[in-house]
Each structure stands twice: as C-alpha cells, then as structure tokens.
Symmetry: C2
Subunit: 167 residues, 2 copies
DNA sequence: TTAAACTTTCAAAAATAAATGAAAGTTTGT
DNA sequence: ACAAACTTTCATTTATTTTTGAAAGTTTAA
C-alpha cells in the first residue's frame, strides 16, 4: 500500500467511526486529515482533499474548534487561515469526553433526577420505576465523575488507568 | 409530575441519548421501556406504548436480543412472547462495551494496523503519518483492552474503578 | 394436517441529517 | 475609505437512515 492510499483509507475509516459515535462523518474526516498532516492545512486543502464544498468545510472546521480539538494557525505573510488538530491523544480524549459530558450526559442526568423524584404512591409498577431510575442516575453520575477525574491526570491517564485495573 | 408523564419523559430522553451514541432511537426507547417495566412486556405493548409499527418493533427487539441486553420470556399458558431488559447496570454496560468493541473498535484497529505499516520512505509527511497512526493504534488498543478488563470484574467494576482513580 | 395466532422480512415511503453554493459578511493592505 | 481576499451563513437540494405495512414465514393446538 502506498502513502496516498493509506492516508485515504485512514480518513475514511476515522470518518465511519465518527458517525457511529454521534459525530458527523465530515467532521471526523476533517479531523483525521488534520491529525496526520505534519503541517497546517488551509480550508482550500480540506475542500480539495475531501471533495467537499466550502460551506461544509467551514461549518465543520468551526464545530471542531468549538470542541477545542482543532486550532487556527496564522502563517507569516499569508492572508488565509490554516488549521491544525490536537495531536496529543490523551488531551484529545479528555477534551472529547468533557464536551460530550457537558452536551449529553449532564442534561440527561437532570432529567433522570426529575423523573426519579415522582411520588411513588403504592403500586409495584411505580415503585419499580422510581427504583430503577434512581439506580440509573447513580450509575450515570458515577461514570460521568470518572470522566471528570480523567482530566485531573495531566499525562497518560489511560496507561496508568490500565495498570491500576489490572491490579 | 405524575407517573405516566415521568415514564414517557424517561423513554424519550433515553431514546435521544441513544441516537447521539450511534444506537437508533427506537431501539433505545424500547430498551428504556423494558428497563422500567416491572414485568415482561409483549410486542403489542411495545407497539402501543411507543406508537410504532409491528415491523419496527420486531426488528428492534431482535437487535436488542442480538446485543444480549433484552431477553425473551414465555408465560405459562400464553402463546405470545414477552420481553425483559437486562436490569443490572454493570452487566448492561459490560455487554454494550463488548458489543461495540467487536463491531466497531476491532475492525478500526485492523485498518489502523494496516495503514500504519506502509513503508515510510523519506518524506517528513510520510514519517509523520506513520508515527501518528502508530500512536493512534496503541491508544485505541489500550482503550479497548480496558473495556475487556471491565468484563473480568464481575461486580460493580465502575464503583471500584472510581475509588481507585480518586486514590 | 390444518388453520389460527403470532413473528419476521423487505421493498417502498417517510423522516431526518448533511451538503451545497450563492449571497452576505468580515478582515486587511493600500 | 475602498476593494480584494477570504470566511460564514442559510435556504434549498441531496443523501442517509428509519419506519411502515402487507406478504411470507413459523409455531402450536386440536
């Protein structure tokens, strides 16, 4: 396999993986492209390499910057903007986790809290509902806290974590 | 808030969460419904409560069973089938993790291995590509192994993990 | 063996999500 | 202040995913 083919395969694969995890395909592809580029990439380059429109490129680059995993760079003497991806994988994982927690988990926790707080009256059905949603609340809260904890380890949290788990 | 409203809100929320995580909405809703039901639910009930067609209910129940998080139950003297969800949350998390690893992570790892194995020749661009995809391979492999390790703790792995992380 | 009771399948339709591209907006050098 | 160079927005189009429902398939009891 030669370089160009490998690069394309990587971008496609990462894109497919992204869409299975709730991130849109193009966004994941752009991120993949930036990750394996050794120097900043312009919007034109992104459009050209992925064969996408200007609007699409612009919107998804913006989204990636909102997630804090892609940065703008300015080259001396160049008018246009260039982009680079966060390449430190620990940092990347932490940022993604933090963002998804904020956008998805926190709101879900709020609802879980709400629905688990109804008065259970006396039917077994309602008791079971309250019990189960309470358990779910505790579980999700614990998982979310774990994500927060990750961010406290500044370096190589995953490697250390694996060691710990293996006892 | 009264029971019916709370139940509906929970089902909707869980469904929305599912679709953000690559699981289809109806599948997540059915699962939510079964999780908070204190007794087995028939396909008719599912159709009725979620207002979905027979085919949709059938396909998604099948998918949930393939994931190993919903079970068929037979009631004595009843012709039709009933369904229950895995209600143990540790068990549920482990099964979901295992399934996603098998379906998504393992295939991605294979590709990462492939593309990181090209001969890097001498350009900085190609060297960077090989270096970055190698790092990615190691990272994803480590994360995936962590998921595998979870399954070794039979009970309350999350709680124990959180304790450990907090040191 | 038959037929009633139930479940699954899958082509077509509907719903949803993503991409386009032209127009509007912004920034920068002169 | 102007206009060239570039970026963003968003109504419309396109692509993808999900749902439907009728037909085919299966199981069970008599």
């Amino acid at each position: 396999m030669e370089f160009k083919e490998a690069k394309n395969k990587f971008v496609q694969t990462w894109g497919a993986l992204g869409s299975q995890w709730g991130i849109n395909k193009t966004m994941a592809q752009i991120h993949a492209l930036l990750m394996v580029s050794n120097e900043p990439v312009s919007m034109e380059d992104v459009m050209e390499e992925l064969q996408i429109s200007r609007g699409n490129a612009s919107m998804n680059l913006r989204a990636l910057m909102d997630w804090g995993i892609v940065y703008k760079e300015y080259k001396a003497g160049e008018r246009r903007e260039f982009f680079t991806a966060e390449k430190d994988l620990d940092e990347l994982a932490v940022k993604i986790a933090r963002e998804r927690s904020k956008r998805e988990i926190k709101p879900a926790l709020k609802i879980l809290k709400e629905v688990s707080s109804i008065e259970a009256k006396d039917s077994a059905e309602e008791k079971h509902f309250v019990d189960q949603t309470n358990k779910l609340y505790d579980f999700v809260l614990k998982a979310d806290n774990m994500l927060d904890k990750m961010t406290e380890f500044k370096e190589n949290w995953l490697g250390r974590l694996v060691l710990k788990i293996m006892k």
